[in-house]
C-alpha cells in the first residue's frame, strides 16, 4: 500500500475560519490516498497485486487465487472487480482470478466442533449462539500462476 504513505504532515495553523471560536491550534495530517481509493477492497486488491508481482519476480501473472474467510469483511464481487482493473492495467487482461470462500472453525461450550460460513450461526448440536471462532478473518493470497 505504497499509495497510502503520508505525503505531508502538517500542523494546521490557524484553525478553520469557519470555527472562529477555536482556541487551540489543530495538528492534522493529510496522507496521500488516490481519490478513487475509497473502498477497502481497492486497498486490498492493490496489496494483493503488489504481493503477486513480488512473488512473480518479473514473470507475467496469469492468475491469482485468494482465500477469504466469512469474517474477512471482503466482498468477493468488489475484490474481483478491482483485481480485474489492476491486473488489466499492470499485467495482462483476462488474468484468471479465483476467490475461495473458506469456512471458519468454531467450538461450542457443549463440546461440539464445527465449521460455519457466516456470522450469527447457532451451534448445530445444541442451538446456542455462545460459540467461539478461532479463525475466519483472513484474506490470504494462496497462489499465483505465472508464465515461465
Amino acid at each position: 500500500m505504497a499509495c497510502l504513505s503520508p505525503r505531508r504532515v502538517t500542523k494546521a495553523l490557524p484553525a478553520s475560519s469557519r470555527h472562529n471560536t477555536i482556541l487551540h491550534p489543530v495538528k492534522r495530517i493529510k496522507p496521500s490516498v488516490p481519490r478513487a481509493c475509497n473502498m477497502h477492497e481497492l486497498s486490498i486488491a492493490t496489496a494483493i497485486v503488489e504481493t503477486a508481482q513480488r512473488h512473480a519476480e518479473g514473470k507475467p501473472i496469469e492468475g491469482i487465487t485468494v482465500r477469504i474467510g466469512p469474517f474477512s469483511g471482503v466482498v468477493k464481487e468488489s475484490l474481483v472487480f478491482y483485481l480485474d482493473l489492476l491486473l488489466e492495467e499492470k499485467e495482462r487482461p483476462k488474468a484468471h482470478i479465483e476467490i475461495i470462500h473458506a469456512k471458519a472453525n468454531a467450538t461450542c461450550p457443549c463440546g461440539a466442533s464445527f465449521q460455519i460460513s457466516s456470522a450469527m450461526t447457532p451451534c448445530p448440536s445444541c442451538g446456542d449462539y455462545n460459540i467461539r471462532c478461532s479463525d475466519g478473518r483472513d484474506c490470504t493470497i494462496e497462489s499465483i500462476e505465472v508464465t515461465s
Binding site: L4, K27, A119
Partner: protein, 220 residues
C-alpha cells in the same frame, strides 16, 4: 508454460507489519490503545470530549475524517492531546496513517490512546492499527439491526457502547434485540448503555476504557 507459485501471504501483510510496529510503541510507552469505530454521527467525538474533560493530556486521540478538523477542534478544547488525520477520501485509517499521526502527538503524559476511526461501519473494522482492542459505538437513532447487518465490526469489537440512550423513548430501537445480536456475534463483548447528554453510563465506560487489564488481556 504456466507455473503455479504458492504464496500463502495475508493480503494486508504490509498493514499488519505497520500495526505490529505501532503496538510495540504503545507497549513500550505503557499506553492502552483503543480503536473506536462507528457510523458517522453516533457520538464518538462526544464520548472523547467527555473523556478529555476527565483525563486531560492523559488522553491522546488520533481522529480520522475524510476532511475538516472539526473533530480535532472539539477534542483539543476538551483538554486531550489530539491529531487530525484527513484521509482525503479514504474510508478508513491504516496502520501507516496512524504511525505518521503518532509522530505529531505528545504522548509524554498519555495513558490512553483512542484512535477515532473514519465514520463507517464496514472498512475500518478490517484494518488492524496495532490497537489492544476495538470499541464499536452504535447510537439508538441508527436502528437496532446494525450489529446483525454489519457483522465484521461486531465480531471484532470487544466492547460496544449503545449511545444516545436518552433518545430511546423517541425512536423505534429494540434494545434487547440489539444487545442479543451483539452477544451472538461476540459472546464476550462488554456492552455499555451511554448518553453524552445525560451522562448515563459514561463513568462506567470511562473506567473500562482506562483499565489496562480490560484491554491487554483480550485476544486480538
Amino acid at each position: 508454460m504456466t507455473q503455479t507459485i504458492r504464496v500463502e501471504e495475508a493480503a494486508l501483510a504490509r498493514n499488519d507489519l505497520a500495526a505490529q510496529e505501532n503496538r510495540r510503541l504503545f507497549d513500550s510507552l505503557g499506553l492502552i490503545a483503543v480503536n473506536m469505530i462507528s457510523a458517522p454521527g453516533s457520538g464518538k467525538t462526544s464520548i472523547l470530549e467527555f473523556l478529555g474533560q476527565r483525563l486531560g493530556k492523559q488522553l491522546a486521540v488520533v481522529t480520522g475524517d475524510i476532511q475538516t478538523t472539526f473533530d480535532a477542534d472539539r477534542i483539543n478544547k476538551s483538554g486531550a492531546e489530539c491529531v487530525q488525520v484527513e484521509t482525503g477520501g479514504g474510508c478508513h485509517l491504516t496502520a501507516e496513517m496512524v504511525a505518521a499521526a503518532l509522530k505529531k502527538l505528545d504522548l509524554s503524559q498519555a495513558r490512553l490512546l483512542v484512535i477515532e476511526n473514519v465514520g463507517n461501519l464496514v472498512c475500518p473494522a478490517i484494518f488492524e492499527l496495532g490497537e489492544h482492542g476495538k470499541i464499536a459505538v452504535l447510537s439508538v437513532a441508527e436502528g437496532h439491526e446494525k450489529p446483525a447487518k454489519y457483522p465484521s465490526l461486531f465480531v471484532r469489537a470487544q466492547a460496544v457502547a449503545i449511545n444516545k440512550i436518552d433518545l430511546l423513548p423517541y425512536v423505534d430501537f429494540n434494545l434487547e434485540q440489539a444487545e442479543s445480536d451483539c452477544r451472538k456475534l461476540n459472546p464476550e463483548a462488554r456492552i455499555f448503555r451511554t448518553s453524552c447528554r445525560t451522562k448515563e453510563g459514561m463513568e462506567e465506560l470511562s473506567r473500562y476504557l482506562t483499565t489496562a487489564s480490560a484491554w491487554t488481556a483480550h485476544r486480538q
